[in-house]
């Protein structure tokens, strides 16, 4: 199976191996080795918890070169509504649209324009497949990956539909092709609030290829727009013809409860990945049942809490709520030609492939070997301290025990064990330092 593409990167220069990222990672994907955090690519789901908790700003999100847009004649940018939530009230939507054009974009499309079509497609899928209840939304790519690695038994409940991002990209391409533009002249770029969406575009789950050509980080676009506004302060504003005034429901889509508010029946909306894990455990055990639809988002307060957002998430929500009110009140006409493409988009809304399990829980393929390993882990657990200090470079005592039986770590990395060995004259202080250097790097012990 192909490895996941990961947008999250660690800068070896900035990382001090402080363990903050390791302890918050919901899939135990991080270890400290040689003084640096390292990510296990099979386990990482790109949720961005590590980035948000890094005190050294050593974790970053790799992005495509912005200048890539200029290799296309028609440069289309897809923006989620969260973009508007990043700016303070004195920056108008007209200014944001105008600045996007000023930096070289030829056409701006709001991805959440596609949520009306998507809602209908989800509704129809749920009616046809009612026996698959509870339905789990595939909105958040980090959650889909989390289910693949930690809750594979729940995969059959995930709604296998493309999301607003993909549908709006398909719409953009089709619209321009229908106008006689040739395919290779169209470049579609997405402004992302998080790492997970990048991963979903670079290596889509349940799809061969994403209809999006490149990704631009939201913080990058934010800076560019702010800079443009400062520089063009004295120039008259040229309005952008395709400026959209989305419906309040479409604006709400990326906020918590944005999906559940569209459906009937018993619906739950959960945000923040640890909360999501709690609910998935309960669903898997059938401790909770009789649920129709579940919206699960990895970030606290959904996409406004994404790792690449700038504004405080509560202030973002405030601005987006104002936008909803304004758009509801003004009832301005929306250039909503997406409706012309409704049947085309619905036809293409189903994922072409399957969302496959990628379990990281199993100790071994063979049950006998797995049992032997589990017994060994349980024996180790009897004499390690269970205080999860992280000084061995693993996130918990249990994780160290697992790493030991998988041959990825040595038990004497545990500082508690080292002390016992030294007391019993089975290890010298020099040997203990040498072991710790392997985890924390030589530099640490020279200070």
């Amino acid at each position: 199976m192909d490895p996941f593409y990961h947008a999250l990167q660690i800068s070896p220069k900035a990382c001090i191996g402080c363990t903050h990222c390791m302890t918050v990672c919901p899939t135990n994907a991080i270890r400290i080795c040689d003084g640096l955090a390292t990510i296990n690519e099979a386990a990482c789901v790109d949720c961005g918890m590590c980035l948000k908790n890094c005190s050294q700003h050593a974790i970053f999100v790799e992005q495509d070169d912005f200048n890539k847009i200029f290799s296309f004649k028609h440069r289309i940018i897809l923006i989620p509504t969260v973009v508007f939530g990043q700016f303070s009230d004195d920056v108008t939507e007209e200014q944001i649209f105008a600045e996007l054009h000023a930096m070289g974009i030829t056409h701006v499309i709001e991805t959440d324009q596609a949520t009306g079509v998507l809602t209908e497609a989800i509704q129809e899928y749920m009616e046809k497949n009612y026996f698959r209840r509870p339905f789990i939304s595939a909105f958040c790519p980090a959650i889909v990956r989390l289910i693949q690695v930690r809750f594979p038994s729940m995969l059959s409940h995930v709604i296998p539909l493309k999301q607003a991002l993909d549908l709006s990209a398909l719409y953009a391409r089709k619209k321009f092709i229908d106008q006689g533009v040739s395919e290779e002249d169209i470049g579609v770029f997405y402004v992302t609030p998080c790492a997970a969406k990048i991963a979903a575009i670079k290596s889509p789950v349940g799809e061969e290829k994403s209809p999006v050509d490149g990704v631009i980080n939201m913080d990058f676009i934010y800076n560019k727009v702010q800079m443009g506004i400062t520089q063009h302060r004295d120039k008259p504003l040229t309005p952008v013809p395709e400026q959209t005034y989305l419906s309040p429901e479409a604006i709400a889509w990326t906020l918590s409860e944005g999906e559940v508010s569209r459906f009937n029946g018993r619906c739950l909306a959960i945000d923040e990945i640890h909360n999501v894990i709690d609910i998935l455990e309960k669903l898997e055990d059938e401790e909770i049942s009789e649920i129709d639809f579940i919206e699960l988002r990895a970030c606290d307060h959904s996409c406004v809490g994404g790792a690449l957002t700038i504004n405080n998430r509560f202030l973002s929500i405030e601005r987006l709520r104002k936008r909803m009110k304004n758009n509801a009140k003004n009832k301005r006409s929306v250039p909503d030609d997406i409706l012309q493409y409704k049947s085309y988009l619905k036809q293409h809304s189903l994922l072409s492939g399957k969302v496959l399990p990628r379990s990281i829980e199993k100790l071994d393929e063979n049950i006998l070997v797995a049992m032997a390993k589990m017994e060994k882990i349980n024996r180790i657990m009897n004499f390690i301290p269970k205080i999860d200090c992280g000084a061995c470079g693993s996130p918990s005592c249990r994780a160290l025990a697992q790493d030991v039986v998988q041959g990825k770590a040595k038990l004497n990395q545990c500082v508690f064990i080292q002390k016992v060995l030294m007391r019993d004259n089975l290890m010298t202080p020099d040997e203990s330092i040498e072991l710790s250097e392997r985890t924390w790097g030589k530099e640490r012990f020279r200070k």
Binding site: S153, E284, D285, E287, P357, K362, L363, E365, M371, E375
Partner: protein, 137 residues
């Protein structure tokens, strides 16, 4: 391999904790996911039975390469008529227990549906032992 868990009678806030632990073990052993689901559903029902009806109980899990055998023994009122208790919808749960969403009378029938072998031994005013076996292949 063997695991033991205590089950506290009357403590609904903790009901399901033991079955959840067993689920984690089975995931690590690479047992088929649909099988894990069946086993955990049966265990959860049996665990809730102890919480809802008995004073205290023990869950003993014995694992081998081709089956899992779980024995839940409780000290409690016992079941006077096991064949009646096996009927769907039959319940002796108190109104308080039903208010918490438990006691719909689906417990034992659901356990039977979700395991390969079920043995129940019960003595009124002493307790009940439920033994569930599920084969991996």
């Amino acid at each position: 391999m063997e695991f033991n868990f205590n089950i506290e009678g009357g403590n609904f806030s903790h009901a399901g904790a033991a079955s959840s632990e067993v689920k984690k073990v089975l995931k690590q052993l690479n047992v088929d996911v649909s099988l894990i689901k069946r086993i955990v559903v049966a265990l959860y029902e049996a665990e809730v039975n102890v919480v809802a009806h008995a004073y205290e109980g023990m869950m003993k899990v014995v694992l081998s390469s081709d089956f899992i055998e779980v024995t839940i023994t409780d000290r409690g009122p016992g079941i006077p008529d096991i064949s009646l208790a096996m009927k769907e919808g039959y319940s002796t749960a108190s109104p308080q227990v039903r208010e918490m969403g438990f006691g719909a009378g689906m417990g034992l029938p659901n356990i039977k549906k979700n395991c390969d072998k079920l043995e129940i031994v019960s003595k009124v005013n002493e307790g009940t032992t439920v033994k569930m076996t599920t084969f991996f292949s």
